[in-house]
Amino acid sequence: MSSRRLLPLLVPLMIVSMILAACSAPAAPAPTAEPAAGTDTSGGDSAAASGDTSWWSEAAAPYAGVTLRGVSESTPASRYVEEVLAPMFTEATGINVEFEVTSWDEMYQKAIQDMEANTGIYDFVYIEQDIIYTYLGRDFLTNLTQLMADNENLASPDFDVNNFTSFIDNFKDPETGDLYGVPMEAFIKINLYRTDLFDDPDIQAAFEAEYGYPLSVATTHEQYRDNAEFFTAYGEENDMDLWGTTVQGHTGHPSATYEFVESIAPTYGVYNWGVNLDTWKACVDNGGEMNSDTAKEALNFWLDMLNYAPPEATSSTWDEVAASFAAGRAAQGWVYGENATWIATDTDRSAVVGNVGVARSPLSDGVLEEAESGEGYIGYYDGGAFGVPHSSRNKEAALLWLEFIGQESVQADWAVAGSRIVMNSTFDDPKVQEADVATNGYYTMLKDDGPLYRGAPPFPFHNTLRESMDPFFWQALAGELTAEEALDQACAAAEAAMVQLGYGE
């Protein structure tokens, strides 16, 4: 009987769903039929900023109506591209841009799958600095220098490789100097500290009374430790949610490994993750440095910092570290520079506006000299570029798009929106200067100290190597392994992974 009563309910439901299903029919056969449906192109008021509009429409004439598709990580700089630059480009050229902005994991998965399988889904992909050697090793990318030479009518007068900072060298073939990617974001991982705490006379007095020397931003690891210990105790005494440092220590996410190999180990003088780039060996016994005594000292220091970090440190990726600092929960910490501007200026998202200072990481003796001589480096210069996959079917139109975002005229607003600078001239822009003041000199530091920082080592197997090391860092952070055990096991696993890939046999 009850089934009878159900029918009247079920029938309308099915009708509704059939209608909905029918709606799907027209869109499905022509996936590109709704150009840039997501972006509001009606505004378009900033199109004037895009330089010589007539050149663009002329050069792009053969490609008008083409739809370019790209994939990128969901960063502020990428979102600016999606929301502002893509509609501007479409207006100037008639070329549509479909931009998939997604999570970091997914971005890699999809770009690599596409290029490996040669499917040609994407016409431009985000290339993070650390993956470039991997892509070059597999010939995944289109040679842009070559492409411009082959299509002289497509070489924009507003695009000049020499406008860029030295960061662009990361995206050149080391041997030929040919360009494979147009930088779209770049930043260094720096130390942020709370100026309101470090400048407070009472706090300064209390610190000196306890440690016997004046409080200042740390230049050595010992001093950093003292600062961290002091502010953790200070937070506890005053019943504040304040700890001494951040640690990017998520026990199930690659970001933990990155913080150690990029930002901690180099400050002790252990470079290239401790991997010997000539022999592809990592353990001391085989000529590597990953488990050297210095590396172990560095890991011990970093693990010790967990004692002075807020409890969410072991659940923190790069996201949450910035969030913790912005919430005022840490007195000092290692934070990616792309976060500097919003932490220092955005009152909607940050509780420490106006109280943010920037500094170099604490360093061991001799590291700065090695960095200055070019032998070593003091931290991580990160960022990314857009490149054209070898499998793209719209390489010429994609080239126009990359040149478009590589114009000097679009850089300043973009820089402020994403804390990213890829051209020398951008530093002098009034908007950037303003942001520089707000962050107590982040942009000046990026400009002056930039050469002391460096991108990831040239591994042609970046992700696989890091994945092989991850579990040991996670276990160390969870207290299941000591620093010594973790590094001994990590270097062995790294060597096994490299051999499996055919390196260092």
Partner: protein, 284 residues
């Protein structure tokens, strides 16, 4: 007499106590999700505030007014509904066949159908991607990033479940009913529509609902087989985990929005769930 009524009352009180505790446990995480979704970034770390008195609307307004997000919602709606519909129809046909005909190897076929739900999905994303981009293509058109593609892929885990659910129910309908109708001159099709369908309606409803929910909630294939046009709401959710501080508030808001349609669906239909979920295993 009084002692039995006392015991009865005691039982009732115990039942209530149990269900009240249970309700609190069930609702607590959902409440907290809501509370977070109503907070701005600076309020997030204010854990001590259990009662949410403020409401930070931008968390909801930003995604809801974003055309990209709206498209995600519509895609999810279309994909889930079409898939559930397709799965229900196919499951009825398939189980009718399995239950009323003596087909060679039908037990093995049944088991094979079910094994489709068992594989860990990650390793299958690559073959699916290759199929979608290279094999299923007509000229320029590929199945990658289309809703029709997702609708078909979701059959892989929904059809086994639906066939299973419907098989028991189908078997539970006495074959004598078919025969009586056939004696009256009805053909197979009429028997299915007039006799069988009404009797399986509760089971069919639950098949539809659960398929809909599974399809609405799927993430991995939606993430790897779509790019721009056919993205669904669950992939939108993952997009809020970004480098510059996960937008927890917005993410919670999106989770709330994503859950709401399913929730309304559930409330609307929940009394039929119990009728339909028997797998035909207990026969009256």
């Amino acid at each position: 007499m009084t002692s039995t009524s006392f015991r009865k009352n005691l039982g009732l009180i115990a039942t209530y106590a149990l269900w009240i505790i249970l309700t609190v446990i069930t609702l607590l995480p959902i409440y907290w999700l809501f509370a977070i979704s109503a907070r701005s970034r600076v309020e997030l770390f204010d854990v001590g505030n259990f009662i949410q008195t403020t409401f930070y609307a931008p968390n909801y307004l930003e995604p809801l007014t974003d055309p990209v997000f709206q498209r995600y919602l519509i895609n999810s709606l279309i994909v889930a509904t079409s898939n559930a519909l397709l799965v229900s129809v196919l499951a009825v046909l398939a189980t009718y066949a399995l239950s009323r005909w003596k087909l060679a190897g039908s037990n093995n076929i049944f088991f094979w159908l079910i094994t489709n739900r068992m594989a860990p999905p990650a390793a299958f994303a690559l073959p699916m991607f290759l199929l979608f981009t290279r094999v299923f293509r007509i000229g320029q058109w590929t199945m990658f990033d289309t809703r029709i593609g997702l609708i078909l892929v979701y059959c892989v885990f929904n059809l086994p479940f639906a066939v299973w659910l419907m098989k028991g129910i189908m078997d539970g309908i006495p074959i004598e009913l078919d025969e009586a109708a056939r004696v009256d001159g009805a053909n197979r099709w009429t028997v299915l529509v007039r006799v069988i369908l009404p009797l399986t309606a509760p089971g069919l409803a639950i098949t539809f609902i659960l398929s809909w929910i599974f399809a609405w909630n799927e993430y991995l294939f939606a993430a790897s087989l779509t790019s721009v046009n056919a993205r669904t709401i669950t992939t939108g959710l993952a997009g809020y985990i970004s480098v510059t501080g996960t937008e927890w508030g917005q993410m919670a808001a999106v989770a709330m929005i994503a859950t709401l349609p399913a929730l309304i669906f559930l409330i609307f239909i929940q009394r039929y769930i119990v009728m339909g979920l028997t797998f035909g295993a207990v026969k009256e």
